[in-house]
Symmetry: C2
Subunit: 147 residues, 2 copies
DNA sequence: CTCTAGAATGTTATAATATAACAATTAAAA
DNA sequence: TTTTAATTGTTATATTATAACATTCTAGAG
C-alpha cells in the first residue's frame, strides 16, 4: 500500500474507530501504518525495529499491546504459521481471513472464498461445533513464483 | 488413545516406517507414544517433561528432532495456533489435517471434510496457487462444552 | 567380521517470540 | 476539578525454537 492509499485507509479507519469508541492513538496508528505499508507480513520484533526513534526503542509490550488492539478492531490479522501480522483491507465488516502465503517470495494474499466459508459452516453444523476463530493459512507457491 | 490402541497403532507405524526405510528409534517412539496417549495436544516442552528420566532430562533439540521426524513421516500434526502437536490417526495415507480445536476443554478433533478439500482445490485453481501446506485450524467450542 | 560413512543423539549456548507485574502518565467522565 | 479508567513505560522473565559442534550408533561395503 502506497502513501496515498495509506492516507485514505487511515482516514477510513479513524472513522471506524471513532464509531466504536475505540482510540486509535498515535502509537497504534504508527504500528498500523508500518503494517499497511509493508508488502510482507511483519513480526512483532520487526515492528519494534520500525518504531525505533533516534534515541530509544520501545519495549516488546508496547508493540504487543498495539497489535492486540488492532486485532480486536479487525484492522490486522495474525498469521499463526509465520508469527507475523498483515493488514486487513476490509476492516469495515469484521471477518476472519483466508490467506494464501507464498513460501517462495513471502507475499500474502487475503482471499474471500465463499465456497470455503460455506464448507466451514457445514463443518460447524455436522459437528455441532461453534466456530469462533478459523485459522485458514494456505502455504504454497504463488502463480508468479511458479514460472 | 488407551494402551491397547497404542500398541496396535505402534505396530502399524513400525511397518509403515520400515517400508519407507525410516528408523523409528526408541526416542522417536517414546515421543510418538506420549503424543498418542495424550487426550490433549502437547507442546515440545511438555513432551520434554514426559521424557524426563530419574536422573536426566533431555535437551530441547532432542524433542524437536523427534518431532521433525514424526511430522515428516506424517505420524503427527503440528497445530500452529497452539504451538502443540497431536497424533495422526490415519498415517497410512499422507494428508494435511483439518482440526476442530475447543478453546474451552482443549480437545482437538481431526476432521476430513471433503467439501472443504474441494474448496481448497478451487482456490488453488482460481488463483493459480500451488498449495503445499494448508493450515486449517478451527477454534471454537465443541458440542459438549456448549451445554 | 571389520571398517567406514552417514544417521542419530548429546550438549551447550543462544535466538526468537511473548507475557507478567507494577509504576507512571494521560484522557475522559463525573 | 477531581477521580476514574485507559494507556503507556519499564523491568524482568517465560515460552518456543534453533545453531553449532561433539559423540555415539548403525547399516552396509568390502
Amino acid at each position: 500500500m502506497n502513501q496515498k492509499e495509506l492516507t485514505q485507509h487511515l482516514k477510513q479507519v479513524k472513522t471506524l474507530c471513532a464509531s466504536q469508541g475505540a482510540r486509535l492513538t498515535p502509537q497504534r496508528e504508527q504500528v498500523l501504518s508500518l503494517i499497511m505499508r509493508s508488502k510482507k507480513p511483519l513480526t512483532a520484533y520487526e515492528l519494534l525495529e520500525g518504531m525505533r526513534q533516534e534515541d530509544k526503542t520501545p519495549a516488546p509490550p508496547t508493540v504487543y499491546r498495539a497489535l492486540e488492539f488492532l486485532q480486536e478492531q479487525g484492522l490486522i490479522h495474525k498469521l499463526e504459521s509465520l508469527h507475523a501480522f498483515v493488514g486487513c483491507n476490509h476492516p469495515e465488516h469484521p471477518h476472519a481471513g483466508q490467506f494464501l502465503i507464498c513460501t517462495d517470495c513471502g507475499e500474502v494474499n487475503e482471499v474471500c472464498n465463499h465456497e470455503l466459508d460455506e464448507s466451514l459452516n457445514a463443518v460447524e453444523k455436522n459437528q455441532g461445533f461453534r466456530l469462533q476463530r478459523p485459522v485458514i493459512e494456505l502455504l504454497g507457491r504463488c502463480a508468479s513464483c511458479q514460472k
